[in-house]
Every structure is written in C-alpha cells, then in structure tokens.
Symmetry: C2
Subunit: 242 residues, 2 copies
C-alpha cells in the first residue's frame, strides 16, 4: 500500500486495448498516406501494435503509483429535520438511493437506527441535544473524508442543529415542514396516539417543542409535494439532476 487510490490491472488492460485500436489505426493510415504502400503500412502498424501494447500497459501501471491529479467529489451533509411522521426518512431514503446510483460514497444516518445501537439515549432536552451533537460529529468526520451523509433526525432544537452546522463544511438543512395535524393524522407508528394518552413523555409536537429552522437551505411539505418531487428539490439544490 503506497497511496490512497490504486487502479487494477484489468483497467490497465482494457485501456491498453482501446488505445491500441485507436492508435494503430492512426499510424497505419499515416504510413499509407506518406508511402501509398499497403504492405509497408500494415507491417509498421502490426509491429507498432505489438510493441506498444507492452509499452502502454507498463506506462499505465507506472502512472498508477503517481497520486497527482486524483481527486474526489466534494461532499455534503444533508440534514433532514421535522416532526415524527413528516416524511423525513422516506425522502432521505430516496435521496440516498439517488446519490448511490451516481456512484458517490454516501452514508445514511437515521434517528431510529442509531438509537437502537447506542445505549443510554434518553428523550430529555439535554439527552437529545447530546445525541444530536454526537451524530453531527460523526457526520462531519465522514464529510471531512469525502463521504456524503444523508441524516434524518427529528432534531427539534435550533441550538443542536446550529452546533452540527458549525462542525460541517457543507451543511444542507432540509426542513420537512409537514404540519403537526397532518403528521398526527397519519400517525404511522401510533406514537402520537400514545403521546396524547400520556404514555410517552417528551414527544416532539405533543409535549415537547419543535423549533422550526430559521434559515433552512430547502423546505418541503409532504402534504403538497410527493416523495420523488421532494427528493428532486434536494438534488437540484445540490445541482445534481435526479
């Protein structure tokens, strides 16, 4: 291991072949144009083809050791914030799939998934804030190393989100602004009903506040906009066509 990126032998072989077709055709044509001797043109072309196949392959493999001029796409942290049931995760999944389809290195961070891995993550203001800060740190470290991050968290507090914004290089805050009434009407996981019955404490929108982003980069309301259109809005903000 002598550098971060390397190329395979297969790649060098394929390039050698595609170049040889292009180059030998040109050489043979040149010799024929100068001499009008088909035999000579074919002989030079044939010998050139054989010798340069070897040379070109060696040249490719030698350049593989040079890191100069290799670079990665400039990443971003896409942070979806909004009430439970607003459609954050669904849109985030679609954006994630689109980024992966472009071959970009992308990581998906989701509130529910991460809570199931981390012990000791409560729902008090302090616990939630600490949780979002830790996740934000993770996101910023991934971004720093060239990875797109698609994060979806209720993340109800402006302070926590601003802290994460400060850690990241290119932070895109996406407010999924579907109103409480609509989220509660859907109640996909039955959590609103339980919170209304007092079975869940600190439930955002019911007995805990949601502080709407003051200056989000993108806002989508899933009562009026479908998942595909919402994902397209996010990608178009990032100047990536869906």
């Amino acid at each position: 291991m002598k550098g971060p990126y390397r190329e395979s032998r297969t790649r060098a072989i394929l390039k050698t072949v595609s170049w040889r077709i292009l180059a030998t055709f040109t050489t043979t044509l040149l010799v024929w144009l100068f001499t009008h001797e088909v035999g000579l043109a074919a002989a030079v072309g044939g010998l050139e083809a054989i010798s340069k196949l070897v040379l070109y392959y060696a040249h490719e493999r030698a350049w593989d050791h040079v890191q100069l001029g290799r670079r990665e796409a400039s990443p971003a942290v896409l942070w979806f914030t909004g009430l439970s049931g607003s459609g954050k995760s669904t849109i985030a999944e679609e954006v994630y799939a689109q980024l992966k389809r472009r071959g970009l290195k992308t990581e998906r961070l989701d509130g529910d998934t991460i809570r199931s891995i981390f012990p000791q993550t409560g729902f008090t203001r302090d616990a939630r804030d600490a949780h979002i800060r830790r996740v934000g740190y993770l996101a910023s470290k991934l971004e720093e190393h060239g990875i797109f991050v698609v994060a979806s968290f209720v993340s109800p507090y402006q302070d926590s989100r601003d802290f994460v914004r400060g850690l990241c290089n290119n932070f895109v805050e996406i407010h999924v602004s579907t109103p409480l009434e609509e989220c509660e009407r859907r109640d996909v996981k039955g959590l609103y009903a339980r919170a209304r019955r007092g079975e869940i404490q600190n439930f955002t929108g019911v007995n805990d506040p949601y502080e709407s982003p003051t200056n989000p980069e993108v806002t989508v309301d899933t009562t009026t906009v479908g998942v595909d259109e919402a994902a397209a809005n996010v990608l178009s903000y990032m100047q990536l066509r869906s």
Copy 2:
C-alpha cells in the same frame, strides 16, 4: 459530479506528454528500421506525435468517466488501549503521522479530544461503556468508507472493546501494557495523585478496574520499548514498513 473519483486535466496532460515521448520514439525507430529513410521516419513520427497528442488526451479524459478498476487501500481500525500515562496517545500520534506520510486517508480519535466535544460523558461504568460504543460506531463507519482510524482510549472494559471489534472489519487491538507503577510514577497530568487523594472517582487503576485485553493483536510496554520502536511494531503488524 458523476462518480466518486475523478482525475484532473493536469494529470491527463502529463500522461499525454510522457507517453508521447515513449511512443513517438518507438514509431520513428520502427519506420526507420523498415525503410532506412531518415526523412520518412521523421515525417511519420512528427505527424504521429501531433495527431496522437490530441487523441491520447481525449482517450484519457474519456476513461476518466469509467469507474471500473479504481479502488482504495483496505483500511483498519487501530485501537490503542491502556492506562492513563501508559504512552497510548504518543504512540498513536506517531502511527497516525506515518500513515498520513504514506498518503493514506487517516482519522485520529483521542479520548481527551472527544470528551471535550461531547457533553454528558461521565466516568461511571455505564457512561464509559456507552461512550466507547459510540466512538466505536464512528470508527467503524469511517473504516467502512476506506479510512484508517487511529484511536486511543483508556477503554478499560473488555465488553466495550469486544463490541467495537464486532462493529469493525479489520480491528487491531493494541495493548499499551506499561504497568500501573510506571504510569503512576510518570503521572504526566497529576491525575494519579489526585485520584489517590480521593479527588477523582472512577479513576482507572486506582478506584476503577482495568481489564487487560485477552488477545490483543499487538502488545507494547513503554518501560522497555521507545515510541519509534512501538510505532514500528504496529506498522509491521499491518505489513507497512516504517
């Protein structure tokens, strides 16, 4: 942005030039060998040089859109565990510097640095375990995306370390086994003295246990081995010469 890795125009230009010198020399030699006509050989060589400069550059730029055969170095999580003052961080810093020098994508995670960023990180068994699990998750995500991680944490519990090992692909546990007496004699930060006076609770080695790794990949004791040698041991385990 159409893929994770791209190459710059400068790289293509430099490759075009180096190839042209190699290739035109070969063609000119070939024509001369066949015809023994210096003028013809020079003319074909000259025209070939000009036409192929353009062709080769275009060929390089076209291949830049093909991701096939591009790959990264296979990373690892280097996890340094040991008592406060054992020399973990110092060796970790040296290993980190060596990996960076090789052009490898590397992230440094250190107990003290991370604690200063995260709120709510206590020193009880549960809090420490939760902290190590979170850091381990971060490390595993970075590794997943091709990044070397050099982590140094007291991480006194076997359970927490095993949890992290389970998350990672290539986990290298490095036990910095400098004995308690030596660590306490050094007492770089004066923490042992404070713990002995009862000013610090849950201090590993004094009033909290350190569970030595049962099967560490590397063990170093800084009473007998210097920093450079210790770093070299770690790198040689990874088959990287220092």
